[in-house]
Symmetry: C2
């Protein structure tokens, strides 16, 4: 692992690191915010998964999460959204290939060798973080934006017991019913229908999700039809899960929306992480 | 004036607008955050002047100021740092020409026709904001980062009575004693010595500055020798001005530093704006 940069931030340290990833077969870069408390011992960790086109950097500089995490003594990790670099397959579209890993493991050419973001986020990166930084693996929660909200929700179901709480900003809730996900499932998995195992609404409908859930989506989200918040809201109510779904009046899909409600989300996770 | 974008943000609106500027002879773009209170009438305005290489966008997405401004009912304006576009002179260096206006009016070729940022910030843009938005011209304060801190301090002296308070993050304090400013004064004004009228420390030494002043600079600022905080600190103490100069341990020149202390700066200005 190589340190790219470390900046003091809200009394803690915002670092950027790169490492050779076995899961994705390429170098991966991530951001990690450690609060001041990390100097005294392991701290809880909140994962932030980003959306289409993002790298590790977008949320790290635009979401305004560090101040709230510092207040709560929580670490934040900002992984990249896909493998990258020479030799890694890509597509001209913004929503396929690099920047669009969808937090799944691809099985089809040309994606299969590198596009294994599920394994990277659930297996490899947590091990690395636990080995290299003062992170308490027993206290992890997860959030994300858009495609990253899809990732946070689906990975929570796939790794029961891993996360103490899950939240999402404008998540892609039901890719099999919308326009973000089907194309990617077809490409990465060979068949849209295989996406059923990676659709937050269908996964939660089938398996439940026994941790507190918080969803925020703007009423003016320009991608509302792609997100299908209605499908997730229905499933959460149907399964009678401990969930809050908030439609925030006038907000759109941007980071101006995410930053507005970041304080709420960090507080929500802190409650679970310190319970 | 043309609206480029408007996003709901912390209950208010983060807008981006462009207009044909007479002062700079080109189209100028700025960001404006209006808190929810602006729907009921004119609100106070805090100017944020950005540093070298920045546009209107950097602080708008990275400084985390909107949340604190919303809490205080204060508008924020994020001007660009120079004229831009075809026909506007430029230089290959990052610290001269476009992105490096230094908040002064150039007198020399090829800069004089467009590089008139002092007139733009002190005369034209305030008039436009007053005419187009619910801004209270009697309640204005100013802050900035690096070159923008230099701008905030020097423009405060040049426009007595205009601003109720001034603050700066890692400001260039004494260009005639450092490395950021002399090259630009020579290019824009024809003579380094003419920069004496645009050097915050020299201006304040000669004229005083009768408003509350807050300066934050990191002890690990990688450009400490360019900033010359020591010159300003000396002058402020010598003139016995109402000023606080804080050297913040471990922080560098980045926006991670700016965002960390943004709450303090907005509170500082709110006190003056609501006095």
């Amino acid at each position: 692992m190589k340190m790219i940069s470390e900046n003091k931030c809200f009394g803690g340290t915002q670092g950027v690191y790169t490492h050779a990833s076995a899961a994705t077969g390429c170098d991966m870069t991530f951001g990690l915010f450690l609060p001041d408390e990390a100097r005294d011992g392991p701290v809880p960790l909140l994962w932030y998964l980003s959306g289409l086109t993002c790298t590790h950097e977008n949320a790290m500089v635009k979401a305004g999460a560090q101040g709230w995490a510092a207040e709560q003594g929580i670490a934040l990790v900002f992984p990249d959204t896909s493998p990258r670099g020479e030799g890694v397959a890509d597509d001209e579209a913004y929503d396929l290939g690099q920047g669009a890993g969808f937090y799944i493991d691809a099985t089809e050419a040309p994606w299969a060798p590198h596009f294994r973001m599920q394994s990277y986020i659930l297996d490899e990166l947590p091990q690395l973080l636990g080995a290299e930084f003062p992170i308490d693996p027993a206290r992890q929660s997860i959030t994300g934006h858009s495609m990253g909200g899809h990732g946070a929700l689906t990975l929570s179901v796939k790794a029961p017991g891993r996360f103490r709480s899950v939240s999402a900003f404008s998540p892609i809730c039901n890719p099999l019913g919308g326009e973000w996900g089907q194309k990617q499932f077809k490409a990465y998995l060979g068949d849209v229908d295989k996406g059923r195992d990676h659709d937050a609404s269908l996964l939660i409908e089938a398996n439940g999700l026994d941790i507190p859930i918080l969803i925020d989506t703007g009423t003016e989200d320009q991608f509302a039809n792609h997100l299908r918040t209605e499908a997730l809201a229905e499933v959460l109510a149907l399964r009678r899960l401990e969930a809050t779904v908030r439609l925030q009046k006038g907000y759109d899909h941007s980071y101006f929306f995410v930053s507005t409600f970041m304080e709420d989300h960090v507080s929500f996770h802190a409650e679970a992480l310190y319970a």
